[in-house]
């Protein structure tokens, strides 16, 4: 009789727990569906009218001439860049907030964006990779984007390595990493200001233009590189999800549960920085997604990284894609800098959730 009662209690607890995890899975599924639906809207939106049906047919390879070109060469890479960069930055932010035990941590915390911007400045101003063109809607063009991207990426990685070496001296403590990141970020910002001070107006214009994040810079090649990196990184983050949960309960407890804390932090920081470096180098600075994506989803489904990592990735994709769609359509044909729109969209949503507090379950 007693066994029967406890069996019922057990199955009741199992059912409750499954219900509880089921709700989290449902939120993730909903986010995925919303991202998919928004993708279709984003492909539709723009100066040429394309109906969802035409989008669908084109994606199936049954589109006609002009739709093929617009969708395959312009809109699809842009939409995919938004999904990939958004999910990568947000997943990286989620891991950084955990690893650095700091809710303010994001891909820009470690100064990687500043280092990448410095690299772009060097390429454009010192090595003359930027110039001006007055005829088109975009007054400024960068005539050697590969050099700019390569330089931005290289300096982002230099910044990453300096921070990792500095943090290593203090056993990868979160304080050491945050402080090293802030210091390195300021150092690169200061260097950037000095370079710009001695530059010509057109060069400064080119470099400021570069700094505004823009998903339109991504062609299929950039999309493929980013996708490869982001998919591998998120797979790695998911592999470490139990370690991140353990870290949330405190550093000593995590060690007691078999987590090699220093190594998990080193790898987490390095991979997050790599995502940031690649995304900033290809697309320019896109702030806020990495900070606010994980925070929004944390308030909805809690801090269990089994759900938080995929949830953050999808939230980031949704945020960046909706921001970009808005940036392209709100005062079309002018395309606003997506980085600014991300904050315009994300900040009120975040503030609302912050004011409302955590969802109960």
């Amino acid at each position: 009789m007693k066994q029967e009662v406890s069996a019922i209690a057990n199955s009741h607890l199992t059912a409750l727990y499954q219900q509880y995890t089921g709700r989290k899975k449902f939120v993730i599924l909903l986010l995925a569906l919303m991202t998919a639906a928004l993708s279709v809207i984003a492909i539709n939106a723009g100066s040429m009218d394309v109906s969802p049906y035409q989008v669908f047919m084109t994606l199936l390879g049954r589109g006609s001439g002009i739709f093929d070109v617009v969708i395959w060469n312009i809109r699809l890479p842009r939409v995919l860049a938004g999904i990939i960069a958004g999910s990568g930055l947000s997943a990286a932010g989620c891991v950084m907030q955990n690893n650095l035990r700091n809710p303010l941590a994001s891909p820009s915390t470690l100064g990687i964006s500043n280092a990448a911007a410095f690299g772009a400045n060097i390429a454009i101003i010192v090595f003359g990779a930027g110039s001006i063109q007055s005829s088109s809607a975009d007054a400024v063009i960068i005539n050697n984007p590969y050099a700019v991207t390569a330089s931005a990426f290289m300096w982002a990685m230099v910044g990453t390595l300096i921070i990792i070496l500095l943090a290593r001296l203090r056993g990868f403590s979160p304080e050491a990493m945050v402080l090293a990141g802030v210091a390195i970020g300021s150092l690169f910002s200061a260097a950037t200001i000095l370079i710009q001070y001695f530059a010509q107006d057109v060069q400064v214009a080119a470099v400021v233009f570069w700094t505004f994040g823009d998903l339109g810079r991504a062609s299929w090649k950039e999309v493929a590189i980013m996708a490869f990196l982001v998919i591998l990184s998120i797979a790695y983050f998911m592999f470490k999800r139990w370690d991140y949960n353990a870290l949330d309960t405190g550093e000593e407890s995590a060690r007691g549960l078999g987590v090699n804390v220093a190594r998990v932090r080193l790898e987490g920081m390095f991979i997050s920085s790599l995502i940031t470096a690649v995304s900033v180098s290809f697309l320019g600075i896109i702030g806020f997604v990495g900070l606010v994506g994980p925070q929004i989803i944390r308030r909805i489904i809690g801090s269990d990284h089994r759900f938080l990592i995929p949830g953050s990735a999808l939230m980031g994709a949704l945020l960046l894609l909706s921001s970009d769609t808005l940036a392209r359509t709100v005062i079309a044909p002018v395309v606003l800098p997506v980085g600014a729109i991300t904050s315009f969209l994300g900040a009120p949503l975040f503030l609302y959730l912050l004011a409302r507090g955590y969802q109960k379950r």
């Binding site: 209690a9 370690d243 353990a246 949330d248 405190g250 000593e252 407890s253 007691g256 078999g258």
Partner: protein
Amino acid sequence: MILSVNGLKFKYPGRRVFQDIDFSVEKGDCLAILGTNGVGKSTLLKCINRILKPQSGAVYIQEDEIFKLSRNELAQKVGYVAQKHESARLTVFDAVLLGRKPYIKWDASPKDMEITRRTLKLLDLEDYSLRYLDELSGGELQKVVIARALAQEPNILLLDEPTSNLDLKNQVEVIDIIKKVVKSQQIAAIVTMHDINLAIRFADKFIFLKNGTIFEAGGVEIITPENIESVYSIRVAVEKFNNIPVVLPI
């Protein structure tokens, strides 16, 4: 012998904590480490669990030297409850399930779920299982952390002040549960405690630490007014109540 500590020495830069620490623990033993604040009780536990690296000496768990084990292997043998707990936005169920982390390859198995359920039941936490840790009281959180260590199914439990946040009823209940688990599963527990009377109820072996070394070690017979006065610099009487010694400050 389940644990053997030989010649352990630990110092922070510029400050010696302890040296020449030798003791061993048998299966089914409950050992209480007693001493004043700052004498190195917590540090000793952390050295046994490799959270801190001692300058010299060795720790053997069964046949294995702890530095030859991977962190994960060590976590399968040693469950650790730290003195301070951080609450996270995790549910009680998930927090206890984390105790299975050393065994989880990719995802929790039905066995992991079953052990988690059993441990929740053992500590009477079933009703809380879907509450978030940051909504619990200090005492409830402490029980969750103890449950997590038990879910690790360790050979040795290291508990740093496990009852500090618990009310009288929960103190007695929790230490009785730990004692029962230790005896029935033939594992061992090492506990640091400030409450000597609670330590007497829990432990069958005691170590007094003083001035960075073992002052006295043995069974309940070492709980004498003289030893306590030497270690804590306070005069006490040790009376018997139902044949159990009770320490009373005078």
